[in-house]
Amino acid sequence: MNVILSLAVATLFGVGAFLLLKRDLIRVIMGMILISNAAILFTVAAGLSRGGAPIVPLPEGTNFSDPLVQALALTAIVINFGVTILLLVLVYQVWVTHHSIDQKTLREAEENELAEFEKHRRGL
């Protein structure tokens, strides 16, 4: 079980990191989502006990899974939702201001601004 979980966490994180390095901002966000989910899966995997669902009344003598990590994971998932929406809004704003979501365009825009600044400074 541990091996499967760690493999899953590693795969999610690896694919996420790969996407994070892409030029397309939507892919970057997909990468962020995958990496966050890797962390959530890791949280669930950190549970101290495994077994049936921890619903009261608990049958005597059976193992039940740690409910605390599930509460933690749920909180992290909710936070993730909010932050993902915020990221999408930011990408939309990038689209509105730059008419592109390609990081190359953003880089060019930044370089142009720097060149403007230099020109302005020398002009003074």
Partner: protein, 458 residues
Amino acid sequence: MMVILPLAITWLTAILLTPLDGRRRWVIRVGMAGLLGSLLASLWLALSVFESGPAEMLVGGWEQGIGIRLRADALGAIYILLANALLLFALAYEERVPLQEQSFPALVMYLAAGLNGLFLTGDVFNFYVFFEIAMTSSFILVSYGQGPREVRDALIFTVVNLLGSVFFLGGVAGLYHVTGTLDMEIIATRIDTVEPASVIVIAILIFVAFSLKLGLFPFHFWLPAVYRGIRPVSAAILSGVLANIGSYGLIRFGADILPAELQFGAPVLLILGMASVFYGALLAISRTNEREVLAYSSISQAGYILIALSVGGAVGFTAAILYAVINALNKTLLFLTSGLRGSGAGAAFAIGAFSVAGLPPAVGFFGKAALFQSGITADSLAFVSLVVLGSALSFVYMFRTYQRGFWANAMEESQAGRSPRLFIVLALAGGVLLLGLWPESLLAATRLAAAGLLGGMP
């Protein structure tokens, strides 16, 4: 009751301000009143903590060991005082001219609530939640202005800091796995019995998360680009208030919860700290954009905090806390001033520059003095000479910036007249100066906080 008061005041004000139009002046004033109330509550809390030791509260009336614990010790008290005061200055700075964005005051209040919670909680997962609340509001604050540059920088800032949050969440899950609890106090006692190899991995995860926040070398790559493009007030909030999460986290998790790992990693911290100090200072000298110089200066100054932490002991921790406080004050002052011109703003900038370079009578002198003291305690010649050299470099870049910004353009800017924001900046500069002239209470408070860290959790 006393412990939850700063958190409750800021939280309620934030909720109250959310539906209101923040472009109106009275709305900002309500926000300022909320922050002032929270500042007074923190002052009350801090005075009682300094006098009679840490205050505690169990949330929701749960039993000991089940409920989440809020806990104010001297370290947390110093940080909430600092955060509330600096946010009040930032909000007052924006109050002087009509705002462009209606969500600004509410977001500042959410940020204050997140920070108050973060500095007062005694539970690591609760820390993560407040951390996310503070970060999420700061993501939006960075994009304040909504211009192309701001939006671009907000995106970089958000993605990088989310990565930091993911690492931190991993660290929290790891701490829970090895100790079976989320309470900081119990983790600190149980961590000694855990196999060191697994704790080191967790310590590294947490270290990376907070270093990203603080902008230490080599986790600084996002910082200059972001600070260059955003508004002065957002930059002041980021480097004066938000970077405190990084320094608080390093001190709290390093010195308080994982002291053995901190000691084990001390040589690495020393090397990274030195690299930060020099890398930041040299690049700051090479830059001409005022905001960029300040950004690299932040990297350099953060290095000192790390070096002081690596020395450890009462002297090292005192220096780390003191330096973190002073750095937050300096950077807020300088970034707020960086948007202004004229002789008054020049004076405020000069005071900030004195403080960064560690010259009396500004408060920065005592930060540098504490660093010297920890260097001498560590009996390390390299350390002492490093602090001297770093100070000399910071003197060079700060005064070159001053020259470029306030002397070169003096002629044409004098016609611009007085900025309504000047008063706020001068008040903050006056605070830096006053703390430098009467530093006793600040020094005593940091010493008390360091003693609290070393004594374990009483």
